[in-house]
């Protein structure tokens, strides 16, 4: 099972490399674009923090860590594939059938589809370098335990975003036309936060770490890892816990949706293959 998954991931990596080598100019343009986009997103809050020296209880280096953490999470997610961003389209357009006819289990197709490890390394590198710089600036004691906690939180943040997108994308099982674009709408909603959320009113903060968990993608894990004022002793485990809960919810909804799909099939095509509008 693992060998087949690795084989498919390897195939994705090979195709990614071939595309880059055959379309060098475009590949460079796309990679540069991604880098400019992410670094630009980080630059504006950093400039504000530079001007004022802090944002709430967060010193400049901590703000940089938070933004770099978010960049690492999003670049790893981008490299892992784009199926969470397109789930509702796949269902709504009847393309789930394309998955179901493949001689692979559905989970493996979704896990390996769109794996492009070589497209996003500049952003990943930038994120890792900035994280290392800010950790040094803040004199954080980097122990194996701390690195382990960092890794767990990074994985958990990725899982939170994936589970959130899957949960919303499942709506398309019941409303294939109306909810066809719900995945991309949901991805807009859970966008990265640019500022530490400490000064934000408590009610909004609760929303941002539960119903729309943007705060779990960088702010809360960073606050816990850096022990910024206001961080509680269990904060470092909130994101992993949320990942488990949201992951279970997404799995439940997906299985429920698949049961519905087994009953109804794709409602977007007639028997003659024409799209029904």
């Amino acid at each position: 099972m693992a060998a087949e998954t690795m084989r498919l991931l390897g195939a994705g990596a090979r195709l990614n490399a071939i595309r880059i080598l055959r379309t060098r100019e475009q590949a460079i343009a796309h990679t540069a674009t991604d880098f400019i986009w992410h670094s630009g997103e980080m630059l504006a809050p950093i400039l504000v923090a530079l001007r004022f020296g802090h944002i709430g209880p967060w010193p400049l280096a901590a703000v940089v860590f938070m933004l770099a953490y978010g960049a690492v999470v999003s670049s790893l997610l981008d490299a892992a594939g784009d199926s969470p961003w397109h789930l509702s389209q796949r269902i709504g357009r009847g393309q789930l059938d394309h998955y179901l006819v493949q001689p692979q289990p559905l989970w493996r197709i979704m896990l390996t589809e769109g794996f492009t490890p070589f497209d996003f390394w500049p952003v990943l590198t930038l994120g890792l370098v900035l994280m290392a710089w800010s950790v040094a600036q803040l004199h954080v004691t980097v122990s194996p335990g701390w690195l382990g906690l960092l890794g767990i939180n990074l994985l958990a943040s990725m899982a939170v975003q994936t589970a959130f997108l899957y949960s919303w994308g499942c709506l398309a099982f019941w409303a294939p036309r109306g909810a066809e674009e719900v995945s991309s709408a949901a991805s807009g909603l859970i966008g990265k936060v640019s500022f530490p959320l400490d000064p934000v009113p408590r009610a909004l903060r609760v929303v941002l770490i539960s119903a729309v968990p943007s705060g779990l993608l960088s702010w809360l894990p960073s606050r816990a890892l850096l022990h910024v004022a206001g961080a509680g002793p269990i904060d470092a485990w909130i994101t992993p816990l949320a990942a488990i809960v949201l992951g279970a919810l997404a799995l439940f909804l997906f299985r429920l949706g698949l049961r519905e799909y087994r009953r109804t099939g794709s409602r977007r095509y007639t028997d003659h293959g024409h799209r029904r509008r």
Binding site: L43, V48, F195, P201
Partner: protein, 280 residues
């Protein structure tokens, strides 16, 4: 637009043609206004996102500028008004017509056959796209402002009048910049998202739509004020909040509007034959 009408074959008088052209633009705007509702109420997601964004920004400022303090000409009340109005008019301060995307996916092919100039038909569509967000976000934000602890009123009635003039100039400059990007896409065969990335960075930092440029470090604001991007957002916002002298700001906006419109029109006329379509 007028030159294109005059050169258009037909026997109707110019006045009738202009009336028909105006009707065509209004119809385009109307269709675009209702477009987001075609897929149901999912458009509400982006609305919610904008509320969250402005609430976060309004909460951040008091932690940076204490009440009573003035930083680079901005007191807390002024910067809160600035941020709120920036969000209310965010679409107008960051003009994006659908032309670049249409160029890339091929949809522009049929648009060349429409009896309307290309730039204005996409501008009409963009204005239609503004309707729903204005209704669902901008208007409620202005009404809820006192509850959020923000005074939404302009510095004076005169400033409000000048703001409207400045806003029109800002949108004009925005459309010119958007068309300039389209020309670049055509001439160097770039995907629109490549330029979008650079534009997003410029918009976030140089335009002042997100943070007043006077509050940027290293005196960057003094440089950015002279760039056309500042004329698309910072100028009208400074006029509204009374943090800038309206006369030079409007003069600079008018200069950029004229220069960019003339330059982009010439560039497009010499580039339109190079349009290549990939979509379908």
């Amino acid at each position: 637009m007028v030159s294109e009408v005059v050169s258009h074959p037909g026997s109707d008088s110019t006045r009738h043609r202009l009336t028909r052209l105006l009707r065509a633009h209004l119809a385009t705007t109307r269709v675009a206004a209702f477009g987001p509702l075609a897929d149901g109420l999912w458009a509400v997601f982006s609305v919610a996102l904008r509320f969250v964004r402005v609430l976060i920004l309004l909460a951040i400022w008091p932690s940076l500028i204490p009440a009573g303090a003035v930083v680079s000409g901005y007191g807390l009340g002024t910067v809160l008004t600035y941020s709120l109005v920036a969000e209310v008019f965010s679409a107008q301060f960051n003009v994006r017509t659908p032309i670049a995307g249409a160029l890339w996916n091929g949809a522009i092919a049929t648009r060349f056959t429409w009896p309307m100039p290309l730039a204005t038909q996409y501008a009409a569509e963009m204005i239609g796209d503004w309707a729903l967000p204005m209704l669902l976000v901008s208007a409620p934000l202005l009404m809820l402002a006192p509850l959020l602890g923000v005074d939404p009123l302009p510095a004076s009635a005169t400033h409000l009048g000048l703001f409207v003039v400045s806003l029109v100039l800002a949108v004009t400059i925005g459309i010119a910049i958007d068309m300039a990007c389209t020309v670049l896409i055509v001439r160097i065969d770039l995907g629109p998202w490549v330029l979008d990335a650079a534009r997003a960075v410029v918009q976030a930092i140089c335009s002042g739509a997100w943070v007043p440029i006077a509050l940027l470090p290293f005196h960057l604001g003094a440089l950015f004020t002279w760039l056309p991007f500042a004329s698309t957002a910072s100028a009208p916002l400074r006029i509204y909040t009374g943090t800038g002298d309206p006369a030079p700001l409007l003069a600079l906006q008018a200069a950029w509007a004229i220069v960019l419109t003339v330059a982009v029109r010439a560039a497009w006329n010499s580039s339109r034959e190079q349009v290549a379509l990939y979509g379908g």
